[in-house]
C-alpha cells in the first residue's frame, strides 16, 4: 500500500479515510481520518476534524485533532481547535488556540 498525498494544488471537499499515512500539502474541507500518521505541510489548509496516528503539523488547521500517538505542532503551524494526544509538542513559531487533552 502506498501513502496518500494531497498535493499543493488540490482541494478535497468531503471525507478522506485512509488505512495508511496521509500527507496534505493542499486543502481539505470536511473530515480527515487515517490509521497511520498524518502530515500537514506548511502552506496546507485543513478545515476538518483530524483523526490519526502520529501527526506533524506545519500548516493551517481549523478543527479538532485527535491522535492515538503524538502531535507535533511545528514552526509555521496555525491550529484552531482542540488537540487530544498522549504526547504533544508545540514548537517556537507555532500558533495554537484551543484545549489540550493528554488524558490517556
Amino acid at each position: 500500500m502506498s501513502a496518500t498525498i494531497i498535493g499543493p494544488g488540490i482541494t478535497i471537499e468531503g471525507e478522506v479515510v485512509s488505512d495508511d499515512e496521509v500527507t496534505v500539502s493542499g486543502t481539505v474541507r470536511g473530515k480527515l481520518s487515517a490509521r497511520g500518521g498524518v502530515t500537514i505541510e506548511r502552506g496546507a489548509h485543513v478545515e476538518a476534524d483530524i483523526q490519526g496516528g502520529a501527526m506533524a503539523i506545519a500548516g493551517s488547521v481549523t478543527g479538532n485533532v485527535v491522535s492515538s500517538d503524538r502531535v507535533d505542532l511545528q514552526n509555521g503551524a496555525r491550529v484552531i481547535g482542540n488537540v487530544k494526544a498522549t504526547r504533544i509538542t508545540i514548537a517556537d513559531g507555532a500558533q495554537f488556540k484551543g484545549n489540550v487533552d493528554m488524558d490517556t
Binding site: S2, I10, T11
Partner: protein
C-alpha cells in the same frame, strides 16, 4: 500519454490504495488514484486511475485520463482519454482523442471532435439526405 507524463513530471497527488475519498476533488496537477473515490473530480491536470483504483462520479473533468482501474461517470477531457487493457470505463466520454487497448471495457457514448476523411464525409452526407 499520461504514463509518459508521469515518468517525466511525477504526480502532485495520490489517493493511496488504502484510502477512500467521499466528496469533491478539484485543483491542478497530476493525480494518481490507487484507492477509492466517490465524488466528482475537476482537475487541471492528468488523472491516472491505477489498476485496483476506482472512481464513481457524476462528472469528471480533466485534461487527460488514463484508466487502468475502474471509472464510472461522465468524463470530459481537453486532451486524451485512454483505457488500458485492465481498465473499465462506464459513462459518456468527450475528449480530443480516445483510445482503448485490447481487453479494455467501455460502456457509454463517445463524443469526439475529429475530422472524417473526405470519402467518409460524402457517405455521411449521403446518409443524411436519405
Amino acid at each position: 500519454m499520461v504514463r509518459a507524463q508521469r515518468a517525466k513530471d511525477g504526480a502532485t497527488g495520490r489517493i493511496g490504495a488504502g484510502t477512500r475519498v467521499r466528496g469533491r476533488i478539484a485543483g491542478e496537477g497530476g493525480l494518481d488514484v490507487e484507492g477509492h473515490v466517490e465524488g466528482d473530480v475537476s482537475l487541471e491536470g492528468s488523472l491516472l486511475v491505477a489498476d485496483g483504483g476506482e472512481i464513481s462520479a457524476t462528472s469528471l473533468e480533466v485534461s487527460d485520463l488514463l484508466v487502468e482501474g475502474t471509472v464510472r461517470g461522465d468524463v470530459r477531457a481537453q486532451g486524451d482519454i485512454s483505457i488500458a487493457s485492465t481498465g473499465s470505463l462506464v459513462g459518456s466520454v468527450k475528449s480530443a482523442t480516445f483510445s482503448m487497448e485490447e481487453g479494455a471495457h467501455f460502456e457509454g457514448d463517445l463524443d469526439n471532435d475529429f475530422e472524417l476523411p473526405a470519402e467518409l464525409l460524402e457517405l455521411a452526407g449521403a446518409g443524411k439526405r436519405r
